[in-house]
């Protein structure tokens, strides 16, 4: 299953988004700060022979979802203004909880505030997992935090680690309390080995400035992490013939660059032999 996320920065991006969906074959697309109604996008996709749906919003209007799954496969779960949790249930697939986020910006929230918000969001995820009866959970979107920030790494917050082997321990106990892990493959997006040092560029006047930030991330529960195709995780710099970056490599169409990844959640066939 292919996933795409883009913070569109309140710009008109339907043409570029349609190109991205066509070129990546994304099945589940999440867009934050989307300025369109969705109709133009669906029309553009239809003209390219793709039948996509817009999932209705209830309370989280800052995140839009477009998918080629029928809307009945997408169940509404917990949400607030800055996150929404859905469950995908399809034949032949393991049920999947999908958390979509657009968490508060560093411009308006201190790092501790972001960590506090992340810990509340983690509780919501755990409640949704308890409701659903499984921990097949993936969370992606604009966290407005780097993978190394407190809210991403602290145990009571998202507790997401760069090492799958360690995350597979499922949880760690601190002070008698159990804190569940996520695996965060987005650590692999840091640095300029592929000439794309992040998803968002910001030149800050403060002494500490990373310039490039990887705010747009995906984290995944150990239960389904083996299905996460690490090599598929990419920051996208073009949509068809349109470049999404300028000559300096900085975001051009929106102030964020999109991310793409694949997750295999195919249900394993149980052979008669293994049942014998």
């Amino acid at each position: 299953m292919n996933f795409l996320f883009w913070n569109a920065g309140n710009r008109q991006i339907d043409t570029e988004l349609a190109e991205l969906i066509v070129s990546t074959h994304a099945n589940f697309v999440s867009v934050a700060e989307y300025a369109g109604s969705g109709r133009d996008l669906l029309r553009l996709l239809w003209q390219r022979g793709l039948d996509y749906y817009s999932i209705p919003t209830i309370a989280c209007q800052r995140i839009r979802i477009f998918t080629d799954f029928t809307p009945g496969a997408v169940k509404h779960k917990r949400e607030a203004d800055r996150y929404t949790i859905k469950e995908l249930r399809m034949a032949g697939m393991r049920p999947l909880l999908v958390g979509l986020v657009h968490l508060p910006s560093k411009l308006h929230a201190a790092e501790d505030d972001q960590a506090w918000g992340a810990s509340f969001f983690k509780q919501e995820i755990e409640l949704a997992e308890a409701d659903a009866g499984h921990k097949n959970t993936i969370i992606f979107g604009d966290f407005n935090m780097n993978p190394f920030d407190k809210g991403m790494v602290s145990a009571p917050a998202l507790n997401s680690l760069p090492c799958l082997r360690t995350a597979k321990r499922e949880s760690r106990v601190i002070g008698g309390r159990d804190h569940s892990f996520f695996y965060n493959p987005s650590w692999n997006l840091l640095g300029d080995l592929d000439d794309t040092p992040g998803t968002y560029f910001h030149s800050s006047p403060h002494y500490l400035s990373h310039y490039w930030n990887t705010f747009d991330q995906v984290i995944v529960r150990p239960a389904i992490a083996d299905g996460f195709q690490k090599a598929s995780l990419k920051i996208l710099k073009s949509a068809g013939a349109t470049s999404l970056v300028n000559l300096d490599g900085k975001p051009l169409v929106s102030d964020h660059l999109p991310i793409f990844f694949c997750l295999d959640i195919t249900k394993e066939e149980i052979s008669e032999e293994s049942l014998a």
């Binding site: 209705p56 509404h76 917990r78 308006h108 506090w116 509340f120 949704a128 009571p156």
Partner: protein
């Protein structure tokens, strides 16, 4: 032995935010023919990194009878053992509608006395944001 305690103790009869919201939760269900309901539930303080220095914390969620496990968090509230002041942490859009400015801890409103609680909660529950959410739940439930 000397009695250092007061002569009598009086029960705190001030209406609590929890009771008030529980009443409103029941009303919502009646007003929407049971399609939409609300719940007040306790939040475990140990589960969060830091919280306002209050001892009792609750959340108020709106849910849909026919939307399995759907839940929208309207607000969190907390207070100490004396019930007041009550500190509310609001949904961003409700807060903006009510003209509450963002602080470092989020969209926070502190209510010092019971007489102010009704007005504040009425403004929250009558907000366009709450109306829109309830309306969307009704639409998606049909």
């Amino acid at each position: 032995m000397k009695n250092l305690w007061p002569e009598t103790f009086e029960e705190n009869t001030r209406p609590s935010a929890k009771n008030l919201l529980e009443e409103q939760a029941k009303l919502l269900s009646k007003l929407t023919d049971g399609i939409v309901y609300a719940e007040v539930s306790a939040v475990g303080l140990l589960d969060v990194i830091s919280v306002p220095r209050n001892e009792f914390m609750f959340r108020f969620d709106i849910k849909g009878k026919f939307l399995d496990d759907y839940s929208f968090r309207v607000l969190l509230f907390s207070h100490d053992i004396t019930l007041y002041p009550v500190t509310f942490s609001l949904d961003e859009k409700i807060a903006i509608e009510l003209g509450i400015k963002k602080s470092i801890e989020g969209y926070i409103k502190s209510i010092d006395a019971p007489e102010d609680l009704d007005n504040f909660l009425s403004a929250v529950l009558k907000s366009e944001r709450v109306k829109s959410v309830v309306g969307s739940i009704i639409r998606l439930s049909k």
